[in-house]
Structure formats: structure tokens, C-alpha cells
């Protein structure tokens, strides 16, 4: 078995063998390659950087150059077992629309993101009065691609608003340890550095676009 980054390993664990998977923002294809090789996934990727796309295709992965904001609308509904949006939602222009598309395209959706509600971030802003710099968010305010940062509570609220239901929620700590969490509880929102959600379109309240 290859070793994956801890957050990607959690995502990989959520994916059943032989699933049809769309990885939106697949980067250099690390997760996708793992899923194809180890989970026998029918894996596809969408990636913004053409350089990353070309590298993925040369590795034998099926990846198209595209943009989560612009290109998800063309995919038909319910064609993937799992749609993954890993560490990308905070960089989209319209996270709500993107999430609605993800819930529509996939039978299940996995979203991971850095938690801006983490106590260090809160403290940095409170004490220094400057936009926070963390390991997960290592950009200055003026050049960050992360234009729509959210807390775990913010994301939980958005999922409810879009009619999605939360099947699993996992908190990621700084050291890479992970544990299941209650997304509505105040604790994880303060203590988790990141989160991974497994979502489905929800009982009869499918997101209407």
C-alpha cells in the first residue's frame, strides 16, 4: 500500500471498492492514483492547473482541465458514486453553487477544508489584529486564493441550507490525528484545524438548481 497524506487517507477510507469517483481539484493526482490502484475506482479528475492535468494524464489518469465554478454544471446528475472536493471549496467563487452541483452529480459527496474557527486563528486575530497565517492557510491576505474561508459551523449550516445531509464528519488536528465529531458541537469548531464531511443529497430534499 502507498502512504497518503492523513486527510487523503481518511477520504480514501470512505470510498467503497470499485466506485465511480470524480475528484474535483485533483492536483497532481495523488489521491486519484491511489483510488484507481488500491480501490479499483473508475476515477476521473478535474484540475485547474494545466501543468497538473498534463502530469496526471501522463500517469494514466483521466483528468480534464477545468474549474469547479465554471465546469461542474455540464456534468449530468447522479453519475458518480462519490464526488470529492478536497481542500478546494474555500478557493471557489461560489461555494454554495459548487456544493449544490456536487450533491447533484454524486450520490455521495466528500468535502474537506481548513477550519477558520480554530482557536489559534481566533486568537491571532484577537491579539495581533492581523489576518491569520497558519500552516493550512499560508498566504498573506492580499494574495490568498482562499477567498471563501469558513468555519465548521458555517459549513454545517450551508449543508443544511442546500438540503444536504451529513453522514459523517471528521475533525483533523494539527498533528494529523483524526476523530469523528458532532458538527454542531462548539468543541470541534474551536479545536479542529480542518474537517472532512461525507454528505448525501438528503432525504427527498435534493438540491434544486
Amino acid at each position: 500500500m502507498r502512504s497518503l497524506r492523513p486527510d487523503l487517507a481518511i477520504i480514501a477510507d470512505m470510498i467503497p471498492d470499485g466506485a465511480r469517483v470524480l475528484d474535483v481539484g485533483c492536483g497532481d493526482g495523488e489521491l486519484l492514483e491511489y483510488l484507481v490502484a488500491e480501490k479499483h475506482a473508475d476515477g476521473r479528475g478535474v484540475e485547474l492547473s494545466q501543468q497538473n492535468v498534463n502530469a496526471c494524464v501522463a500517469r494514466g489518469l483521466s483528468v480534464v482541465q477545468g474549474d469547479a465554478d465554471a465546469d461542474l454544471s455540464e456534468y449530468p446528475s447522479h453519475v458518480f458514486d462519490i464526488v470529492i472536493l478536497s481542500q478546494t471549496i474555500q478557493a471557489t467563487r461560489a461555494p454554495r453553487t459548487v456544493l449544490q452541483h456536487l450533491l447533484r452529480i454524486g450520490k455521495r459527496t466528500i468535502v474537506s477544508f481548513p477550519n477558520i474557527g480554530h482557536w489559534k486563528v481566533r486568537l491571532a486575530l484577537l491579539l495581533k489584529g492581523r489576518m491569520p497565517h497558519t500552516a493550512a492557510l499560508g498566504y498573506a491576505w492580499y494574495d490568498t486564493p482562499n477567498i471563501h474561508l469558513c468555519t465548521i459551523s458555517d459549513f454545517t449550516a450551508l449543508v443544511r441550507e442546500t438540503g444536504g445531509s451529513i453522514e459523517r464528519a471528521i475533525a483533523l488536528s494539527e498533528e494529523g490525528s483524526t476523530h469523528a465529531m458532532q458538527p454542531d458541537a462548539w468543541g470541534p469548531n474551536l479545536l479542529a484545524e480542518g474537517a472532512i464531511f461525507l454528505l448525501s443529497a438528503g432525504g427527498g430534499t435534493r438540491a434544486v438548481l
Binding site: D42, R44, Q50, V53, N54, C56, V57, A58, R59, G60, L61, S62, V63, V64, Q65, G66, D71, E74, Y75, P76, V79
Partner: protein
Amino acid sequence: MAETGNPRFLRPISAPGADIGRAITFDAPLALDAARTLGPFTVAYMSYGALNAAKSNVVLVCHALSLDQFAASPNPMTGKPGWWDVMIGPGKPIDTDRYFVLCANVIGGCMGSTGPAEVDPSTGNPYGLSFPLVTVRDMVRAQAMLLDALGIQKILCVIGGSMGGMQVLQWAASYPERVVSAVPIATAARHSAQNIAFHEVGRQAIMADPDWCGGAYQLKDTQPAKGLAVARMAAHITYLSEAALQRKFGRNLQNRESVSFAFRPDFQIESYLHHQGMTFVDRFDANSYLYITRAMDYFDLAADYGGVLADAFRGAQTRFCIISFTSDWLFPTVENKKIAHALNAAAANVSFVEIDTDRGHDAFLLDEPEMFSTIRGFLNSVAASRGVE
């Protein structure tokens, strides 16, 4: 159906010892989109590598407008290396140690497959303009008959650039069950108004040449060499990018210190184009040029599917890899991306790669390492999934 060793070339072979390939003549007529039939007809082809016992290692290469079946071996007319020698061969991206590579001359062509320069058996004279209009779909139909004749059911990969890419798309749409994977390169699902316009300039140049003789120049033992050369010169400009022209020629003068104040080819770019035009007429038939450009103009894959391109690929199990080039303004990235979008909408398995180069449309024929690594990686993955060693 009869197999012959020799394609029936129009002109004498000038590269002695070159492999001139094979040809199959079909007695059953080819049903054409123009509601006519063509028969008997011949398909001339070349093959490279060996067909495996399971017949599962077939790579079908589709050629572009002015090219032919000599993709990976010296051209018997010119003696020059095959037009895709950089791509096809032992250890190359399309590895002939692994794959059985087929390339057939298109119907309407002039390198042994039946085209307007061939003799019409019903009159005993060359077809000329009585040759029926053929389409990209007709070309693909003829190739499918060739594969049937060779006992090949499935194609591991159908690949080609420009008009070759149109054939690739048509193959995937017409015979989805036969095509395991498809690599359309620098192409479009329909010919644009601008591209039709360039073709019309070329055709008018041929037809304005008095030696064209209404298409019956063979009977007068002549050919519209000037018209065809002008057509080729105009087309050749569209194959290159402005940046590449500037880099290669700039405003450099040809064998002179200053301009001549006359209409001689003062500039290097002029003499380069003249050379391109002149060498083209030695190897290509003018009427063939008219017919094949027309076939490209008529190509509009979505039109056959109610205007919805995605419907051309609905339910396809084929894996696609689309490749475009940043400086290609003849078949720009946006046209290639439309194909990728349609395939996404059909939930097809698609990759799309844009390669950064300043060499224009012709980049698909050149040494482009990123194109090679893309095709090598894609083919490896497809071959592995089908158990091709």
C-alpha cells in the same frame, strides 16, 4: 474482395525500395452520405508492428488532409521519413514492439485508395468531378470495412490530428463498441466558418488555374500545378503560428542584401512557401485536394445528433484523451475543449491536455515531448486495462 500488394499510385515511385504497403479492393459498394454508392473501391494501407493472437493491440492512425498511410515508413513518392516517425516505432509513444499500428489512405485520397484521379470502371476514364462527394463518415466507413476484411473487431486506440482527429471522433460516434480508446488531437467537432473560408480560397485557386480543365486535366495530360501550389501555400500559413513564422523567418531576405524592388521572392518566408507549394504538386492530386477539403467543411458531428454533441457520445465506454496546442489558431483549444465538455455531459471517460508550444497547428506532427508523454501514459493505461502486454 481482392487483396493486392500494390496500391495504385498516380505517379511513378521515386523512392526505390520503399515499402509501398498493401491494398484491398472491395466489390461491394460503399454507401456514401451523398446518397450515392462507390464501387468497386480500394483502400490502401500500411501496417507497423505485429498483430497479437487476441487481436487486441490494434492502434488505428487516421491521417490529416494532405498526408497518407505512410505514417512511420519512408514515403515512396518523396523518400522522406513517415509523417509521424517521431510518434510511431519501436520504443516510441506508439510502440510498434507492443502495438499493431494501421494507417489507411482516406477514400478520395491519391495514394492508392479510390479517389477522383482513379479510373472509373464504368467509363474507362478518370473519375474527375464525376467522383462522388465523400464525407469524414464515409472515410471512416471505408476504414471499418478494411478492419472487417482484416478480421479485426476492436481497436485499442484510434488516434489522429486535424482531419485525422475528425475521423477519430467519427469512429467513436459511429462504432462506440469497437473503439476502446480515442485520441483526437488538434481538431474540432465541426469545421468553423474561418476554416471553410480558407479551404474555399484553396479550391478557387485550383479551379481558377486554366490547366484544371474543369477537373478533366488528366485527359489533357496536364495538371493545375500553379493553382494547387497556391492552395498549399495559403493552407500552409494556417498550419503555423505567427510566433513560429517570426522565429523562423522574421523579415530575413533570401540570398540578397537588400530588397529587389521587384516581385521576386525577396523574403525567406516567400521562398519557403514557394518551396512548400512546388513540392506539394509533385505528390498530391488537385481534385483530391478539392474533395478532401470539402469533406472537412461538411464535418459537423453534432448535426447528426440533433445539434447536441454530447448525444454523439451517449453511453460510450470509450476512453478519450483530447490534446490541443496553445498556439494552434486553426483548431484552437476552445474547439477541442468543446469536445471535452460534450464528453463530460455524456459522463464519458475523458482527459483533456493542452500543450504549451509556439509551433501552431503543425505541432502535432513535431517533436513535442509533452505530447509524447501524454500519449505514452494514456496508451499504457489503456493497454494495461485491456491486458495488452
